[in-house]
Symmetry: D2
Subunit: 332 residues, 4 copies
Amino acid sequence: MNSFGKIFRVSLFGESHGPAIGVIIDGCPPGLPLRTDDFVYDLSRRKSGGKGTTERNETDQPEILSGVFEERTTGAPLTITTNNSDRISSDYDQFKNIPRPGHADFVAGIKYSGFSDLRGGGHFSGRITWGLVVAGVIAKMIIKPSEISAKLISAGGSSDIEAALEKVLVEGDSIGGIIECRVHKPAKALGEPFFYSFESAVSHVIFSIPAIKGIEFGSGFAAAVMKGSEHNDPFIDRTGRTSTNNAGGINGGITNGNEIVFRVAVKPTSSTGIEQRTLDFEKNEMTLLKVGGRHDRCIAMRMPVIVEAATAIAMADLLMIDRGIHERSGNS
Amino acid sequence: MNSFGKIFRVSLFGESHGPAIGVIIDGCPPGLPLRTDDFVYDLSRRKSGGKGTTERNETDQPEILSGVFEERTTGAPLTITTNNSDRISSDYDQFKNIPRPGHADFVAGIKYSGFSDLRGGGHFSGRITWGLVVAGVIAKMIIKPSEISAKLISAGGSSDIEAALEKVLVEGDSIGGIIECRVHKPAKALGEPFFYSFESAVSHVIFSIPAIKGIEFGSGFAAAVMKGSEHNDPFIDRTGRTSTNNAGGINGGITNGNEIVFRVAVKPTSSTGIEQRTLDFEKNEMTLLKVGGRHDRCIAMRMPVIVEAATAIAMADLLMIDRGIHERSGNS
Amino acid sequence: MNSFGKIFRVSLFGESHGPAIGVIIDGCPPGLPLRTDDFVYDLSRRKSGGKGTTERNETDQPEILSGVFEERTTGAPLTITTNNSDRISSDYDQFKNIPRPGHADFVAGIKYSGFSDLRGGGHFSGRITWGLVVAGVIAKMIIKPSEISAKLISAGGSSDIEAALEKVLVEGDSIGGIIECRVHKPAKALGEPFFYSFESAVSHVIFSIPAIKGIEFGSGFAAAVMKGSEHNDPFIDRTGRTSTNNAGGINGGITNGNEIVFRVAVKPTSSTGIEQRTLDFEKNEMTLLKVGGRHDRCIAMRMPVIVEAATAIAMADLLMIDRGIHERSGNS
Amino acid sequence: MNSFGKIFRVSLFGESHGPAIGVIIDGCPPGLPLRTDDFVYDLSRRKSGGKGTTERNETDQPEILSGVFEERTTGAPLTITTNNSDRISSDYDQFKNIPRPGHADFVAGIKYSGFSDLRGGGHFSGRITWGLVVAGVIAKMIIKPSEISAKLISAGGSSDIEAALEKVLVEGDSIGGIIECRVHKPAKALGEPFFYSFESAVSHVIFSIPAIKGIEFGSGFAAAVMKGSEHNDPFIDRTGRTSTNNAGGINGGITNGNEIVFRVAVKPTSSTGIEQRTLDFEKNEMTLLKVGGRHDRCIAMRMPVIVEAATAIAMADLLMIDRGIHERSGNS
């Protein structure tokens, strides 16, 4: 189930310490101008190196294996990969017996009967989101003129994100954060009742991203304490513009043309510098575990571009489905 | 896109004021004992009539059209319908020109080029969740011994739900609420990375339900203010039991065997007794709208059983996919 | 797996002797004029009553349960059913122990662990194709101006079909036949390489129909004895018209605008009036079985309209997928 | 739509003259022993070099990019690629104006608005079947103990295949052929009514393969001239063995445990050494075209292993679906 989408289909593959990771994008319209340079900006936003993100040197250079001819998409599946040049694996041996709290080590062992590649988290690694970002670059082209922008609005509970990060670096711990994502000039009519509402499609992709704990659209959890008379967004012009936007741009699972707004909660990185008490499964006794290796202190910092990509992918698929069923002139 | 699931497939149909609504459940194992009585309990939990819920008389009596023979499922698709006996439609005529704030009237008009059946919300009506609850009854049988229970933990911001409701009834307004859902004795290993994580599957179905604004698993949005050393759940025995459950029973998108916990935010019913200022699209001027008809004051009150159904449906599909790919003895 | 299609989705349900059979059509564009009368012509072509077809009185009257409002499709799923008014079931009791040769009794027993409804073939009955024909009526509207016409071109090896039938009626046996299907004015560019070629989509639906043994496109099996210089179809004008049509209107899995031509082989009805020697599974000894009840002598006679429906359904889905991905002006 | 399968999913990518071609296999069980050597035998059967097959040097060496760790599958998606080392492209320039009869040049131009990579047939090239064969190797492991074997039973209408080939080589033309495929010891109960019958699944994949014109199961087209009393296969023991096998091992779309038998028709290679009269689309006048380059004289010779792969892939998916829905002990 490493594919998403009904028509615009994105398939991810690879393990953190395998030869390569990558993505196939199927159902991409032909004729889109595309060069490897087009991925640079978004990949750099995802890339490690910033304060509080892992120092692992991921070269991340994309290689286009198929689907592009003379710098245009051909309509055939796009395959884009990158090599895993930096693969130090010795750190991961111990986790078979002492699965790391908060990580997928334990469930991977059960799910894949002990055969999964645990090195660097294997296929569970955040590194797999590289392909999501690559697909997001294509999806953003498709959904134009809609524009998506996500940003980290708080970390460790503070909107002074830099300060929060300094503090956690000193403590050797890790922190979570909240990403807010907005879609400007969204197409209307995206979303297919009953089971492929706009929120269903977006949340489906968002919860594929490691470390996501929650999502809320528009007023979100605050809606639960509001009254109907406050929450309803009055229409103010014939384009469907509303004076408030508690709906977050979506009614009945379908975009209404107002700005789309949602937020996602990102948990603190499971790997911290703090020693943790947990079970040694082999010895069947509690032990102290300190996770070494190089890890992000605040994985949420790398998330905005990933959240954007997830959103664009869901929207591209919804756009194509809507266009396929309906013959309306344009997605008004 | 009125179907959900890869193997265990649920398809909903019907409009609020059409002849009937219903559900097809495909991929149901043969041999399950099934009588119409089996739906009574969950349907009654969803049914109207309680304080603050609409007085509309929905008889709700299920009729099994296919897939059952001699009170056992046959393996063929189950079709279960109920008639819409109580269909007063005159209330809805005005909403073509004055789409109700918070409702799907406006987007339905655009999406379906003016051809959708607006009476009672048509296919957007909460009435469509009848079929979801019916499918949930089947799904709950399939995922046994896992048990799902959801409840309304707050309404209008208060945990004294009865009081909150009294108040809003007096005011003539409506309120939202928060549902908490727990799965006891969940199977391990449910969830398919990358794109069909447990959270992806559940949130996909949950956000198909009208009025849902947010979902959070385990620690949820609170995770964003926690430190990694607090958030990680230490293992304490070889079954994978953890001393805390911030993960909500899920790591890496896969169930770990601990109780599954998530919460959803439900917005206040869009139909309130309060007059609202909004646009008359025909006259292109602001007007006052008062939505008559019979409506729930707190739609969240009817939601727990719907949330349970959504969860069971997602779990049944994940269970079958896991069983299909793997030959492990039992879902441990 | 009682659903077909990626966007234009058709789901069938029902058993031969259950309360009702029917179909859901999801992804149907809104605004199509639709009345129950629109189904009469194709349903009558499928209906029993002609010479050599079963005398069972299937009233076949369609009832629209959802998806239509004021005689237009709404964009919500269309549900159309018919009651099984004539259900004499006593004939089928013996087949549990003596599964009928050529029928699905034996495999149904294994597949559904003995729980399937064997009466009248249950969900395996040809009666289930009623819903296919209904969906075909809708699909034919969608693919206009393309027009599909199928006919029986031989029965029992003879092109004098009436004579072949007279003969078999006298003998008390049954015969097969060959249906030829042509699509006039087909849209170009239908078919999605690699795995959803035009032939893949059509053959997928065709082989869902009971009693189909083979399919061939254009030159078909004759191609295996031709030379490339004979088989290639030379282009003769810029619209892509070719002077021969060995391709059957399809190159590389994609329609080229020339007439689409294919043929399907239908086996003789498994129920014959002739006594057959087969195993009594209970006694574990060979026995003589004579299948009573009312059966078609040449099921192929009822097939043309079913083949048309299958073709239209596949084409409607391919059309919507093509339109979804591409923004070409019209399907040329 | 370059993916096939509901659970066992195969996705193909690449163009004939691009950097690489390959395949992703998702839903593969963990723990299967796998080395690149395992692909050698089947790839060599598909490979060029035999008499009448193209002399193009396809090194074909597979590289495993993901999904294998310590020579076992991990449960994560398997990605396997090979480089296109031999890419002479100059031959293909002229086909934009003079699309080759029998080839996809014309439809590709329309479908992909002129952006497709025509070199070597691009994504339409038979070379893409490399990935199908690779996936087939995995699928064959999964469906054990079932064994698939396909062979060329006639070429150019003759069962003396070598002689037929000698003749066509002298003539400079090309010929077609017929492949017969048999599955020994097939699992029972594979096939999901209504729309995913065994024949539907197999024909769907088979018709994805370039150059296939027809498929018939068991008695196939001959069934159309048989009588029911001849065609029905009497059961002779309690395992369901039948004395004849006109059903080809399938009743009601479900395998009955008898040998599965089907045949496919392969057209003569479209590229022949014979000069062809066809349209020059630029000049809008008829012209003579001689297709140079290196081509198979009888593509059917390379087909048996491809047909086996297609069958194995369809069977693996059906097996997993059946296992997912049912809890029968073992398939059979």
